[in-house]
Symmetry: D2
Subunit: 337 residues, 4 copies
């Protein structure tokens, strides 16, 4: 049994709490800490059966009953809290991105090296999605052969508040970072070089924040494959999340999930449903699965499925993408320190 | 909060227990009774938090804390236990079929008339499936217009043990009964007449039990629509569960659910996944949803979504189908008493 | 080189003329006869290069240059002209149905027995359609195993003029007859018994002609398979032509053809094109292919792909269907003389 | 009536000859010239009814009966013969690419300016394909809104003989050139900048010729849209030809064409057919359609659908792509002279 403390009771913290409570058999959330704890949240936590409710996360780190913490606080605190938690002897599940700064992520990696018995997992939940996992499985099973071309389509149904972009670090660090990790996951390879072709086509306010909202990012993978991601901050038909891996022996491709398979044929055509609205609808099962695997790794002392290397690599790719956009040239990952 | 007692701790009883424990917020399973209670089951029940574990269901009926019972015992006991439970003042959720005998189902209906405050729901879980619910919704929304032709395909991945057929009442009462109810649900109508075209094509041992394993059943619905169900006890590609409703304004059709949308293109063709294996995989969400709606009806004193009329109608259709097969002619439902 | 005379210059006669002119290398249409020959038709025929234009088909039968005739006149003349043509030593391609009367079709069969060197093909063009041919090929290749259940959906985009129904013989003889032949073709078997479940749901004027416009026809095939056809005279989304053959080893199914594969995703859903409008759009390639195969059979003295047996069988099934509807009972084909 | 002379009796010349003979009503091929005319070709031409068979194309240019010529000779002669034909007063249909040299294409453009009454069409047949035309139509109809992202997948079933690459000018000039034109066609825009990410993953012999066999090409379109093409010289599942246009109001996407829509479900999964094998199978109808439209433009003195601008633009993009690959940087089209 793994006893868990959750640091940060925002949206994603609550998602993990419910996943663990309802879908993970060998774990229990014993404590939740949030500096902005309010009555609604407190009532919600009590209803789910959380016994210890704090405003200071240090109380969780100090609690000997707690084996593992979930770092669901704001991004700028991820790395520091992770290091503290590791030093307090806790396994850590850290939301993505670990940090915007390579050196801070490396500090987490250093802390982990000093505590080889502790697990550290990064919250790239999409690796646990049924569709993307099936792509990787087809590749692992040898059905695709050598990877030649990877294509990822990732489009949000609506753009974030432009104010959010200021703190998020921009599209590559808040949105594409999932796709960067997915590119590594689906080809089972690191990235070597990145080139960005991007524009502001959805909302000029995004451009005013110095960011782009539409992008095609092409990459050379370390294993020789070529990859391309296309992003948009607004797909009017909904959350578009697809991948296609093409290789020497074949291709595997996924399509979007819908609420039902019902298709209506009428005088207007043959019409199926739009994709599930956004990430909470689309990826809910994957949040539960990442928790299950994190808990299993903690309990059985096995490798976590998404470690600090993935956390570091994804941020390096995002920073290389930013540099490519600014300098209008391909950028090697080795340029990013 | 609805306190529930489950009568029968077999496979479906356990499914409901887990659904309520993990997916229904305003209900709790307080007691489970099973005459064949063993150590494994007892351990399972305790792990989920069931406090009262009995071998005699009458202990549940006598318990004033219990508001509602789930009748998950063997089919031949459904009706009698339901009547007892109603007379003990409990809401009842009864697995399908309510009974093989019309008069016994009518006895349940009579008991309900004497206890107008009690809820009685029949376990036609497929009505709560995302795909079939979407078909009905398209019809209710007027997108199909008047119903003209309903087609249901329902094929199992593998036949039951021939010995089971003896007690099950045969294909129409154990398998097609779901499709009969679905025909009524999707056209929002009763059935008027049934004709069966059937054969033993899968397993001669089924024929030796006096049953068939492959059938096309065509029906006239009371609202004028025509309907057809095709059944097989063995589809080598897996559980095939589809519906198509055609009408004056259009058609709505569903396809099978798969584990993922991944499609592999290779030298052999373009290959997607087989359907989810069988009813536990395919309909798990619908079991949770039927519990949610049953509990809501009990708690808020609203109508149940599947009442005794559906329970009676489905059995009448099944008996008319048996008669049609025996007598090789169309049989009206009014002939079944 | 096969020299062809076409008897009847209506729509289907012109289709065959163009097919032969543009798509059949080893044949030429030398003569066309039509009692209602008008200037437009004459100009059309001359443009395509037809040399001999008659009002009396007997001039074609008397022409020693002509090897084969296409009987594209009105249905009530098919059988008599076929017999005459056979006796004149011509190969015959006869449009469907050969006749509404079994005895007249048998007279054609008798004439053929007296002229064993002559070919006689019936115009069941759908057998040459790419989709239906692929279903049969999958079956012939053993991918389906033994045939268990055949399902054919056949719905027209709009009903014929009710006046036409008077002469056409009704839905089973003018529309379903194609599906009856398809059932035999796809299961490679004759029909043993037919049961009809039908109604007037599209247009009361059709009912006033004593016909139905919506039907589910279920059949026992001689090889043990069960089959079902569903028909409607009006599908608002267009011509719906699908088949599904299910057996001991698998299932093969086809979907409708569209003008393009383009799918538009927008705020209303994911919308593909409607099926090709009607039989001329949908089956144009099959008309050319049936001509190619007829000409090949004539030229190389090989078996025609659709002979008099198919012509007789399809009409027998249609008459059995009419009888089943009238007498409200399953009808064996052996009852039809 | 347009009288046509075909210069070059290789594969594509024969395709056009058959298209015109069988599918274009207002045109006739009167003459064919080929320096390597052999007996087989001569016999074929006579069978189709070509009256004048030459080895010297100048005989066609000198023939006053000829209104239009099709330049189907080797690529290095396209531009020169086109200029000669224009000066001889003939309309010209020229196969792609017009030339590898910008200045030679500009010479053709100059000749056309001196002969404003003559038509010049470039053989980008894919614009006339049912699927790609439907993408453009959806865009023209305003269903997509402003174009944001265009994705083209174009993969051949098998690589050409490496020797061919020497004369073809490499992948961008012999294969991607169709996709470059398609990018312009589908966004209705020129290209502004190109970046190539490419590798030799299919066949080292291609690399030895100084070429690549796998590529992701990303472009900025003049209208602000972003575009990406992915190419492979070998898709084991067959010729993969898809496009997807995403914009402010929606997305339109196409899938591959197959011989039939038949899908087999069995113990291995749900398997559809591979795409049509290669360009002759896939694009045959488009070859006929481009001829029809060329002939119509000649006969009615209307604009050709694909003029010299498209011929020039596509080669400029290909040369920019080569430069991008060599110099490992984005290249603007304005750099290509």
């Amino acid at each position: 049994m793994v006893n868990i403390g959750i640091i940060g009771a925002g949206r994603i913290g609550k998602v993990h709490l419910e996943s663990i409570s309802y879908h993970v058999k060998n774990a229990a959330v014993k404590a939740v800490a949030d500096p902005f704890m309010n009555e609604d949240t407190r009532a919600f936590l009590e209803r789910v059966g959380v016994e210890k409710i704090y405003t200071d996360y240090k109380q969780i780190l100090a609690d000997p009953e707690i084996n593992a913490v979930l770092v669901c606080s704001s991004t700028d605190t991820h790395a520091a809290i992770s290091v503290e938690a590791i030093e307090a002897g806790k396994h850590v599940f850290c939301e993505k991105p670990v940090d915007h700064s390579i050196s801070k992520i490396e500090a987490v990696a250093a802390a982990l090296e000093s505590h080889p018995g502790l697990k550290f997992q990064v919250g790239f939940n999409r690796r646990f999605d049924h569709n993307f996992a099936a792509v990787r499985k087809a590749y692992d099973d040898g059905r695709i052969g050598d990877a030649h071309i990877l294509k990822i389509t990732s489009r949000d149904p609506e753009p974030p508040n432009p104010a959010y972009i200021k703190v998020s670090g921009g599209i590559f660090l808040d949105m594409t970072i999932h796709d960067f990790d997915m590119a590594c996951f689906l080809t089972n390879s690191d990235v070597e070089e990145v080139y960005v072709n991007a524009a502001v086509l959805v909302d000029p306010a995004i451009g005013e924040q110095g960011d782009v909202d539409t992008a095609i990012i092409t990459m050379k993978m370390a294993n020789g494959a070529l990859a391309v991601i296309d992003n948009s901050r607004r797909a009017v038909y909904g959350y578009d999340q697809r991948a296609e891996l093409f290789g020497s022996k074949g291709m595997v491709a996924t399509s979007n999930d819908t609420l039902s398979s019902a298709v209506v044929s009428d005088a207007n055509g043959i019409t199926g449903e739009k994709p599930l609205f956004f990430f909470l609808e689309r990826y809910m099962d994957s949040f539960a699965e990442e928790m299950r695997q994190f808990v299993d790794a903690c309990e059985n002392d096995t490798d976590v499925p998404v470690g600090i290397h993935a956390g570091l690599q994804s941020v390096k790719i995002a920073l290389a993408a930013k540099k490519s956009l600014q300098e209008h040239r391909p950028v090697k990952l080795s340029e990013i320190q």
